[in-house]
């Protein structure tokens, strides 16, 4: 057996120690038992040695992962009590203001969980807060990945998986939100039905097959239930596993810095350092969600009342991740076409189907579009700083502003009521904002990025302005500039030296700064050998886009030696 364990380097054979305590013996025995069956020792060793970089922003995705764990646990608990049925019953539980009211079994059992199961309300609130944090953390995680360019090759497919995870998370959330069959969620379902109904040609068929009849029917809650507890969670689980395995296989990206290159990872080993931290974080995410569930009430279905097709409440809003759809529905002009005895409801179809379709597709395909425009086919392990890729950062901020105006539109009545604005004026202002704010924010963001770049270069090449003014013998005044501390200068040089897309440009002086690039990206870029004149509309468009992208970087004339030289 010891021969099998011999180190690949051919050093002296490794043997087990002679004197083993009971615990050690048991541990070694277990590991050996597992290895004897799976041959897992090599994998285990490599996995425990795997290095994870330490930056805080790399933990955002973990929030989503741990929220998902909580969703599974609390969700299983809730299914033990929840009855997914639209049978009508009369409430007889302990919440007085609804006693004697006619409602569906789904709503009845939700009230039962809330008021007659000890800790049931807590569990419901944990589940709902975890759902909000799940989608929210996915979105925040995507911000990080987007603005640092972590989606670039070879991680593009993982970005696609991540986008699908986000969309599924939104769908899953909407299904779960609809299950209690309260007045608010029923209103949401009613709107969802109308959106499906608006699809040209097949809309009504889609609705009837989904709902089993005209709205609301008797089937939608049981069907949503199985989608919510089995179908989507199953797909989510599989995709999360794939997402994590790809991450594990490809290793994490890292920000440029001293000692960091395209070929290495610097950080903490998975075991024990990262293992302890991530477990601690798991518990703290649990704790945060439990804390919210204890002290902040969410989805008080007993106040909404049971669903009734003749009732509605002012301020009917969905959970936040659907709010952008609500906003686009609210801000849409009232277009509708009638022809040959048919109707197309553009006022629902465009904001409810086309706009989210375009948004999600652009989001998913962004890495491919960027790679196509920049002709960047290299491998990337070091991240971009947002300021170093002004066009991408600008596009990101622009999309974000567009999205946020939609979200604000979804809450226009709450905004109007809170600030005593006119509802109609609020909507009009948001309509105008939706058109003009995105391009303006693109311009401003790009300008800020270029300014920051300029500032960095000035800092690196001229040092920090001390504010001390000195008079030269010639009579001229100069401000004394102090060079940056060595470590800071090195980091900055690395950061400036590393840019995702300036392969065509000369790098600022500094061999070290360029090393990461020359070592990987520049060498990786074969396109310098295949320069061709653009042919065809698509190619011409691409060239135009590339010129737009690669506006030359502003550089500061450099006479000083690079700190590394």
């Amino acid at each position: 057996m010891s021969a099998k364990k011999a180190d690949a380097n051919g050093d002296a054979p490794v043997t087990r120690p002679e004197n083993q305590g009971a615990a050690e013996k048991a541990t070694r025995g277990t590991l050996k038992y597992v290895d004897d069956h799976f041959g897992s020792a090599g994998f285990l060793k490599r996995s425990m040695d795997k290095v994870f970089p330490d930056h805080w922003s790399f933990m955002l995705g973990e929030i989503a992962l741990y929220s998902f764990v909580i969703l599974l646990l609390s969700g299983v608990y809730l299914t033990l009590f929840f009855h997914a049925s639209q049978q009508t019953v009369v409430y007889n539980g302990s919440y007085q203001p609804l006693r004697g009211v006619q409602m569906t079994e789904a709503y009845n059992s939700t009230l039962h969980i809330s008021f007659d199961v000890r800790g049931g309300l807590l569990m419901r609130q944990i589940h709902h807060w975890a759902a909000l944090l799940f989608v929210t953390s996915i979105v925040v995680h995507m911000f990080r990945v987007f603005f640092t360019g972590a989606f670039k090759k070879p991680r593009t497919i993982n970005w696609h998986i991540g986008t699908v995870l986000m969309i599924l998370g939104i769908l899953e959330g909407f299904c779960g939100y609809s299950l209690p069959d309260d007045l608010l969620s029923g209103t949401g379902l009613r709107i969802a039905y109308s959106v499906a109904e608006s699809i040209p040609v097949v809309g009504t068929y889609v609705c009837y097959f989904l709902f089993g009849s005209t709205y609301p029917g008797q089937d939608i809650i049981p069907r949503l239930f199985i989608i919510h507890v089995l179908l989507i969670p199953g797909i989510l689980l599989a995709l999360i596993a794939a997402h994590m395995m790809i991450l594990w296989h490809q290793k994490h990206t890292d920000f440029p810095g001293p000692g960091k290159t395209e070929q290495n990872v610097i950080g903490t080993k998975f075991y024990p350092g990262f293992f302890l931290k991530t477990n601690g974080f798991l518990f703290m995410v649990f704790g945060m969600i439990a804390g919210l569930a204890a002290f902040a009430q969410i989805n008080p279905v007993w106040l909404y009342g049971p669903y009734n097709a003749g009732q509605v409440s002012a301020g009917s809003q969905p959970d936040w991740y659907i709010l952008f759809l609500e906003g686009s529905l609210r801000m849409m002009p009232n277009w509708e076409s009638h022809f040959w005895h048919h109707t197309i409801a553009w006022n629902i179809f465009i904001p409810g189907v086309i706009i989210p379709g375009i948004m999600f597709n652009l989001l998913a395909l962004y890495p491919n579009i960027e790679a196509w425009v920049t002709k960047d086919k290299g491998y990337h392990n070091l991240l971009d700083r947002p300021r170093d890729v002004p066009v991408r950062t600008g596009l990101g901020v622009m999309s974000l502003v567009f999205y946020m105006v939609l979200v604000a539109g979804g809450a226009n009545d709450i905004l109007a009521n809170t600030f005593h604005w006119s509802l109609q004026a609020t909507t009009w202002v948001l309509r105008v904002f939706l058109i003009i704010l995105p391009p303006i924010s693109f311009k401003i963001t790009k300008r800020i990025c270029l300014g920051l770049q300029h500032h960095d270069e000035a800092l690196l090449h001229h040092g920090v302005e001390t504010g001390i003014i000195r008079r030269l013998p010639s009579g001229a005044y100069i401000e004394v500039e102090e060079p940056l501390p060595a470590k800071r200068a090195e980091t900055l040089a690395k950061q400036i030296g590393y840019q995702g897309h300036d392969d065509h440009h000369e790098l600022p002086a500094g061999k070290n700064g360029g090393a990461s690039k020359n070592g990987a990206a520049a060498e990786a870029n074969g396109h310098t050998q295949t320069v061709t004149r653009p042919v065809g509309v698509l190619a011409k468009a691409r060239t135009k886009l590339e010129n737009f992208w690669d506006e030359p970087r502003e550089t500061v004339p450099d006479t000083q030696p690079h700190p590394e030289d």
Partner: protein, 277 residues
């Protein structure tokens, strides 16, 4: 002035007749309907008996009317006209009834401070005492028949669940599911009901202040009104069992908490974890 009797509400009727009747939907409905009918008819009679003569027999010699007219001419006539006939800026108050006066002045909406889409609720003008408001109400009531002020609103005995159903059908669309208020068109809004007294809620329903629809006693019987008031009071005073109520306006404030407290807090934790020891 009329007295709204504490009526046996339909829900209770059902309960006393046969406790298990609640499970039978249609039976309960029938009993409920009957109860409402009886209650409505009974109360209507009382109401008519109450204010019909009061309106006709109002004599100008009543000292309260004299005093009310005096106060009106100082505080209200500049907009509503010397004889409450209305003006360019304000409606006629002939036939508005005492309840409207008590509601508008009792909630501080009148006298109006400035013209806007809607008169906001504010502290009642200190220059008018309770008695002053009553006298003005008596004066206005003497000008033409209108809804009278309710008295002794004994809503405690009403069926809260029945009130809740009525509330969701008739009130929640503007005032929100928990009476937190909501936006209407062009700067108008349905106010929050949290400060409204039972009497004011009752008066609002029978007079339809500003843009609120009128819910007459034949549409929503006095007994039903008491049930609605009971529901509003119960959900106002009941605790939020899940923690802070977040304004009871639905998912919008939950969004803010999820982002600011939830993700915000966790990001701070990640920074702590990522920082050097």
């Amino acid at each position: 002035m009329t007295k709204v009797e504490p009526v046996t509400t339909p829900g209770q009727a059902a309960e006393t007749v046969e406790p298990t009747a609640r499970s039978g939907r249609s039976r309960r409905r029938k009993i409920a309907s009957l109860g409402v009918l009886v209650a409505a008819l009974g109360t209507m009679g009382t109401l008519y008996a109450g204010f019909a003569p009061a309106a006709s027999s109002a004599s100008n010699n009543d000292p309260a009317i004299q005093r009310g007219r005096e106060l009106f001419s100082h505080g209200c006539a500049s907009c509503h006209g010397l004889n409450a006939e209305g003006g360019v800026r304000a409606p006629s108050l002939i036939g508005a009834g005492a309840a409207a006066v008590d509601f508008q002045m009792g909630t501080g909406r009148m006298p109006l401070q400035q013209h806007g889409p809607e008169a906001p609720r504010k502290r009642p003008d200190p220059q008018f005492s309770e008695q002053d408001i009553q006298d003005i109400a008596t004066y206005i009531a003497s000008l033409g028949a209108g809804p009278a002020e309710p008295e002794d609103l004994n809503y405690q005995a009403a069926d809260v669940a029945y009130g809740g159903a009525l509330f969701r059908t008739n009130c929640a669309q503007c005032h929100n599911f928990a009476g937190s208020g909501g936006a209407l068109t062009y700067g108008k809004y349905a106010p929050s009901l949290s400060d409204a007294t039972p009497k004011q809620i009752y008066e609002a329903m029978i007079t339809g202040p500003e843009n609120m629809p009128v819910f007459g006693d034949q549409e929503i019987s006095p007994a039903q009104k008491l049930a609605i008031i009971k529901y509003i009071r119960v959900i106002k005073t009941e605790p939020d069992p899940g923690g802070a109520g977040l304004g009871r306006v639905g998912p919008v404030t939950e969004t803010a908490v999820a982002w600011l407290v939830g993700i915000g807090g966790l990001v701070i934790i990640t920074m702590w974890i990522g920082s050097k020891a």
